[in-house]
């Protein structure tokens, strides 16, 4: 009995001993239940990024002033048996303000279907389809799962499209930061000397910049006639201007520490070129740290983009991002009338929370040989 346990423990030990670095990281990351769950949330969000139209119930730009400020129509799945429906909306004109006031009426049901046909769209620019995840049985009927804004645009569909923009901004900005950080940090750490001094002073200067005011000024300087794509790219560049510094420092530190290691000396003596030493021998030892650090930088970029767009100086309408959506919620009177306009903010919080949890999990797992 005891022998069996010893043999089993030995097998586990051997399994650990021969596992590769990445397998160990995965095993360690897997132990963080919350990080694993958050990774699932992020995967779902990026599926939306791939094809927001599939999840949207209608065109996110479709306006209808007569259907402004419609409250949320919560989705019900069962009605007796499996029969998904949402409560219908009833409008009543307020005799004093003369404003249409909408309420939901659960006694009248609008039936909906999954994988239904609706407005046609292109998937990743490859093919056209009209299948949507969700939609009313009667295609002419508009449904507002998360209510509508002051122009009668469907918030659910807009959030799906906003998710695409905001999540991509985060990813692209951080990718740029990583490239800048690794290249400049690497140069700084590998060569040292005057180049190192110059890059270090530059990093110090950039890190003491009052970020939000300077970002605002830079985005205000973008020409007004730029297309949404140009603005999008410019915003990501602006965000990564400061973002690379943290990573640059970290990479430099690693390079400085590794430069004197025996295996680097061995590689040099074996006649490896500079690029080969850096890419094949040094990079793999701190790649996991770079991944962990950048996964913690994405939420920072997302919050920054949201804040800039919220102030009207980031992504500009008609492009949709979470910040653009939250612009609708700026006015306190509007908020009192239509509190559901805060929902995009909750999406931001969930996404940022998920990134932070995954990032923390990765950071803890990134050094599998520590305890």
């Amino acid at each position: 009995m005891q022998l069996d346990a010893t043999v089993a423990a030995g097998a586990v030990e051997e399994r650990i001993a021969v596992a590769s670095n990445w397998t160990l990281i995965w095993w360690r990351f897997r132990r963080h239940r919350l990080a694993l769950f958050s990774a699932g949330v992020l995967i779902c969000l990026y599926i939306v990024v791939l094809c927001p139209d599939f999840f949207a119930t209608q065109d996110p730009q479709q306006t209808d002033a007569r259907q402004a400020f419609i409250p949320t129509q919560p989705l019900h799945l069962f009605d007796g048996g499996w029969n998904p429906w949402v409560p219908a909306i009833v409008g009543k004109r307020n005799p004093i303000t003369l404003r249409m006031e909408w309420t939901t009426d659960p006694s009248r049901k609008t039936h909906i279907e999954f994988f239904t046909h609706g407005q046609p769209y292109r998937v990743l620019g490859l093919f056209t389809t009209s299948i949507h995840l969700i939609g009313a049985t009667d295609p002419a009927q508009r449904i507002f799962l998360l209510g509508s804004d002051r122009l009668g645009r469907d918030q659910w569909s807009r959030i799906m499209h906003g998710t695409q923009t905001s999540m991509t901004v985060g990813l692209v900005a951080v990718t740029l930061s990583v490239i800048l950080g690794v290249v400049l940090g690497g140069i700084s750490g590998y060569f040292g000397g005057i180049i190192d001094q110059v890059i270090q002073r530059l990093i110090e200067l950039l890190q003491s910049v009052p970020t939000i005011p300077v970002w605002l000024a830079l985005s205000a300087a973008l020409p007004r006639d730029w297309t949404p794509t140009q603005v999008f790219l410019a915003i990501t560049v602006i965000l990564s201007l400061v973002g690379w510094t943290t990573l640059g420092r970290e990479v430099r530190g690693r390079f400085l520490a590794l430069r004197e290691e025996d295996f680097v000396l061995a590689a040099r003596l074996a006649g490896c070129g500079r690029m080969r030493i850096i890419l094949r021998h040094m990079m793999p030892t701190f790649l996991s740290h770079i991944i962990a650090t950048s996964s913690l930088a994405i939420p920072v970029a997302i919050i920054s983009e949201t804040s800039l767009s919220f102030l009207g100086l980031g992504i500009r309408p008609p492009a949709i991002s979470w910040g653009v959506l939250l612009q609708e919620a700026q006015n306190i009177q509007t908020l009192a009338l239509a509190p559901w306009l805060l929902i995009p903010g909750l999406v931001v919080i969930v996404a940022v929370l998920a990134f932070n949890l995954v990032g923390d999990g990765l950071r803890d797992a990134s050094d599998p040989y520590s305890h």
């Binding site: 200067l205 890190q207 003491s208 910049v209 009052p210 970020t211 939000i212 005011p213 300077v214 605002l216 000024a217 830079l218 205000a220 300087a221 020409p223 939420p299 919050i303 949201t306 804040s307 919220f310 102030l311 009207g312 100086l313 939250l326 919620a329 700026q330 306190i332 908020l335 009192a336 509190p339 805060l342 903010g345 931001v348 919080i349 940022v352 929370l353 932070n356 949890l357």
Partner: protein, 328 residues
């Protein structure tokens, strides 16, 4: 110590010079100059201006000069304390900024104080009561605090206060004090209002600082000197506060360097949402209306505050840690 501080103080003008150049590049970046917007403003109000007049004005303001010369002009005026005129308000920029600078600094400092008052005890409690219910609750609050953009928190609080309690929590004073001259009553009124925006601005920082404090203290609590002190019969809370807590505070002081500047720049959005008298909303308006010299002046003030914040933290750190002071 004196040498260290003098050294840092001598660096300050140099940094400001670099910033002023970068800022001038940024404010010059949008197409057109301030005369273009001035002419646009005039024609919007129905006044026309001839091409010769524009040319004369252009010459008078040095706008026909090369970029570097224009920058030197601007710098010379700045050195004489002349921040230029605001196009939109038709008033000297220095006055516009001066009116709100005090409250901007007050808000950031208040936020800073609140952060430390909350974060340090919360961190100590979390560390000494590791894995207790309160520790878990604090951890959850911390994660959400970091994840919530502070303008979002401001919006939610404003909405709750307005929709459920029927009160408006914007501004820094009650309506009757807004234009009143300074008095004790106005000051008390300010204190009654300022804590909420200060808390909103500081929430993410508070969460982060609590986590740092908790982690630092947890490291210290496992060290042998703590066991020794406990074995000698020192009372637990006295032991924690006297030795490990003091050591755990050290890394926290080094966060001031990035935290204080972050508060200045973070207050911009919250001040805009909550309608606070602050240079943040002033900058936003100036940028949107292309009132570029006002924007430039405010950006310079922000940079100055940032540098001073970093400087203060470096000095605080040098006072606490002799290794830095001696340049080791």
């Amino acid at each position: 110590m004196t040498r260290y501080i003098t050294h840092r103080l001598l660096l300050l003008p140099l940094l400001l010079l670099v910033y002023s150049f970068v800022i001038f590049v940024i404010i010059q970046a949008p197409p057109g100059d301030f005369l273009t917007s001035y002419v646009a403003t005039l024609s919007a109000s129905g006044t026309s201006i001839s091409a010769e007049q524009i040319q004369a004005l252009r010459h008078q303001y040095g706008l026909d000069q090369p970029f570097v010369v224009q920058y030197l002009y601007w710098l010379r005026e700045l050195l004489h304390g002349n921040f230029g005129l605001s196009l939109e308000y038709r008033r000297p920029n220095a006055d516009l900024i001066g009116e709100q600078l005090g409250l901007t600094v007050a808000l950031a400092v208040m936020s800073f104080v609140l952060t430390w008052i909350i974060a340090v005890p919360a961190g100590i409690y979390s560390a000494t009561h590791q894995r207790s219910v309160v520790d878990h609750v604090l951890t959850v609050i911390n994660y959400i605090g970091v994840a919530t953009p502070n303008f979002m928190l401001a919006l939610i609080l404003m909405w709750i206060a307005f929709a459920y309690f029927g009160i408006s929590i914007t501004g820094l004073y009650s309506p009757e004090y807004t234009d009143a001259p300074w008095s004790m009553a106005k000051f008390v009124n300010l204190l009654e209002h300022i804590w909420l925006p200060a808390l909103v601005i500081g929430i993410a920082g508070t969460a982060r600082l609590t986590r740092i404090m908790r982690a630092n203290l947890l490291d210290e609590l496992n060290k042998p000197y703590v066991v020794t002190a406990r074995a000698k019969g020192l009372r637990e809370w006295r032991l924690v506060l006297r030795y490990p807590a003091r050591l755990a505070l050290n890394p926290l002081v080094s966060t001031i360097g990035w935290y204080l500047p972050q508060l200045f720049s973070g207050s911009l959005i919250v001040a805009t949402v909550m309608n606070l008298p602050n240079i943040g909303p002033l900058l936003l308006r100036a940028l949107i209306n292309q009132d570029m010299y006002l924007a430039g002046a405010i950006l310079l003030i922000y940079s100055f505050l940032t540098i001073v914040g970093t400087l203060l933290s470096d000095i605080a750190l040098a006072m606490m840690d002799p290794r830095i002071r001696m340049g080791m």
